[in-house]
Symmetry: C2
Subunit: 437 residues, 2 copies
């Protein structure tokens, strides 16, 4: 019999699905509550998604932005981690069906209260076949795949003797002009035009083109217009990124991508297309809707009550990217941001404690901390309420905020050191072409 703390027999059973920002913050803020927490995740780690693009561009190692969930809650006696996938939800019997292990039979997990925080996945808008040629950026594996694809393209360009093919290897297309696309394009530009400047003998890295494709008429739609303009300037003038707004992707094939602009086709020869154009809700939303009759929005997100619960099921909550929470002053649903998920997670910890004490919890109120995006070395944009920041000061703010929220003191130190090192030397620490790394 293990000598460490185990779940108390008679405690309230809380099951949290998803170890992202929402699930993890809920778990940690219940450390002292008289509940048994089971944190269920398909993966054994919490991933700090905002820095994923830095793994994709060779600045950080996967281990720097991912922390084992077991390690995080090891000393939280009332919490347990279950590495498993949720296949079904049974609200009548208050139980989940888990996949269990590869060889085993499905397993059942009962709950008194359920929090669903499974996040979102990448979305190709009905063209899933594009994924083969245009990796997205949602998982650590995605980031490593992008890193491999980019570095490999440069190696092929270096060896290629046919100028047309060489141009294809030296053209990178980033689809999607949201914060992820902008951050990735900026980091790629600095990788190929800075870090790698002296690394090749046959190709001139100045010739490498980075093209950003955005279907709307502007990039960074969530930001105010003055900051959008600053970001465009920075991308085009300092980072040499070509912005193609009002361009839709019509098809992605080996060696090329075809765009539509004002009903005209445009073909770009490229071996490297990276996809940051959209996310879709976790399939758990659909399952929940089938079992509880709850409403889904167009994006497949669950429309939740003012306390993040599912209508008619006060013991089931949905938070983070899967929740459509529209109890806001302007009735617009909250965006899929880390800070929304974090605040909802902490809020639910509070709700559960209120309920255990037979008190009525207040509704969820989102404290808008604004938006930030980094655009390469020394530059970022940030909007906090009416305050619009850009340039070096926004960049410093971006660094501090990201270090602050990164989980694990060791990771904070490691990432800070690597950023300082990269900044001073323009080197990158993790430019590896690997299959499984």
């Amino acid at each position: 019999m293990p000598d460490h703390a185990r779940h108390e027999e008679n405690h309230h059973r809380l099951v949290i699905v998803g170890g992202g920002f929402g699930g993890l913050y809920a778990t940690r803020h219940l450390a002292k509550a008289p509940v048994n927490v089971s944190l269920v995740d398909k993966r054994n780690f919490h991933l700090f998604q905002p820095l994923l693009y830095q793994v994709a561009s060779g600045s950080l190692s996967p281990g720097n932005i991912a922390v084992s969930l077991r390690e995080i809650v090891a000393h939280q006696a009332n919490a347990d981690v279950i590495l498993d996938e949720v296949l079904d939800i049974d609200p009548q019997n208050q139980a989940l069906t888990l996949r269990a292990d590869e060889h085993g039979h499905p397993n059942t997990l009962s709950y008194d209260t359920l929090i669903l925080a499974p996040g979102s996945a990448k979305q190709y808008f009905g063209n899933d076949q594009w994924e083969e040629h245009a990796p997205g950026l949602k998982t650590l594996e995605d980031a490593v795949r992008i890193r491999r694809k980019v570095l490999y393209a440069l190696e092929c360009a270096e060896k290629e003797t046919d100028p047309l093919k060489q141009a294809g290897w030296m053209t990178f297309v980033v689809v999607g002009g949201g914060p992820t696309g902008v951050e990735l394009a900026g980091a790629l530009s600095e990788l190929v035009h800075g870090t790698m400047k002296a690394s090749f003998r046959n190709i001139d890295t100045c010739q490498i083109r980075i093209i950003m494709v955005e279907a709307a008429d502007r990039i960074l739609a969530v930001f105010p217009e003055d900051l959008q303009q600053k970001a465009c300037q920075r991308l085009e003038q300092r980072l040499g990124v070509t912005l193609l707004t009002n361009h839709r992707v019509q098809s992605i094939e080996p060696g090329k991508v075809i765009l539509i602009h004002q009903e005209t086709q445009k073909e770009i020869l490229t071996e490297t297309v990276l996809w940051t154009a959209g996310v879709k809700a976790s399939p758990l939303g659909r399952i929940l809707s089938e079992r509880t009759g709850c409403e889904l929005d167009r994006g497949g997100r669950v429309v939740v009550e003012a306390d993040c619960s599912v209508p008619h099921y006060p013991n089931i909550f949905v938070i983070g990217d899967l929740a459509n929470f529209a109890h806001t002053p302007n009735q617009k649903p909250l965006p899929g941001l880390a800070s929304v998920a974090m605040q909802q997670g902490m809020y639910l910890a509070n709700v559960i404690q209120h309920r255990l004490n037979h008190q009525v919890p207040p509704p969820f109120e989102y404290l808008d901390k604004g938006n930030m995006a980094i655009i390469g070395r020394n530059a970022a944009i940030a909007q906090v309420g009416d305050l619009h920041l850009s340039g070096f000061i926004a960049w410093m703010a971006w660094l501090l905020v990201h270090i602050f929220y990164l989980i694990g003191f060791d990771n904070k130190v490691l990432v800070t050191f690597q950023w300082a090192w990269n900044y001073l030397t323009k080197d990158r620490s993790a430019c590896l072409i690997t299959e499984q790394i």
Copy 2:
């Protein structure tokens, strides 16, 4: 046209195959010589193999022990990196056949002088089918695969309800009692009995067994007997590793391994078998032998002259794990150690410079720096000439030597910090179950 330095037209063309210790040290020590160096490797990075077991046991990230070859030689104007695989050697025309890119035709690379330093691969002694169940530890991918297998086994044990199956998930077998096996077993023991002690709720990590299987009658054959005994004591008494010497592996199957001890079969139920029992020479040795008639030893290594050249081919050299260099005081071939490869690499840089100046180079002399192996926290063994060290002082020496030889100042700092952090907290930084990370 790139603005950086390119190969000088009339310079001596040196091709080095392999970016390990031998190839890299030769390259770097020729930085100021009037030669054009082409460093050919299948992988785009130099791997610091002595720390691979720390990636396998979740202490370090792959990026900490691998550095992009392009980055290393970026500012060495006379050197070029070619990411490619050598398919054939044509000594008459002084050319190599390269695979070129996936879609391209094979490519030819001419040389005036050739250095082969391709290293070695893992060896299952005619039972390659074992690899599926028993990963070895030679590449970064191997290390990540072992990490995944070990962590996944613990997760399965935590969920398993059948006690017999659970015992299989909680039994780790390390095949091979050389330094790699000892270091891996020690690190695994500290992972499961230290770091993970508080992480599980259903299993008692004290029940996890680590079994080391060695065919010979003792482990760590290269070390003197007093140090072997110290290592055994440490492994058995402090780290709880079961040593099975005089045990040969008869078969490895899903769920079990069958051993032979004094003609009796012994079955161990285990889901996790790790293979560190042998290495084999690179297949380039056989190709070279077919093309030049050079002698191979039983292990497939090329028997070289006193200057590391191939008999009758003074412009072809073989160094490192592929070389059988027996021009030693006792006529025994040098072992496959990093320090042998490094010294041979530096020696060849010197030979080439002598030849360019029409001087006769001296023969290679190996300066035996001894052997070291770490056996977990605070303990190592080291033999330097007649000096035998063990315990804490040998452990400190091990740490310093490994930090010293690790390539890249940033990696030195990152690894030092992570070691200090792991030492103080017993945490591990990189316990991730990933597919491609």
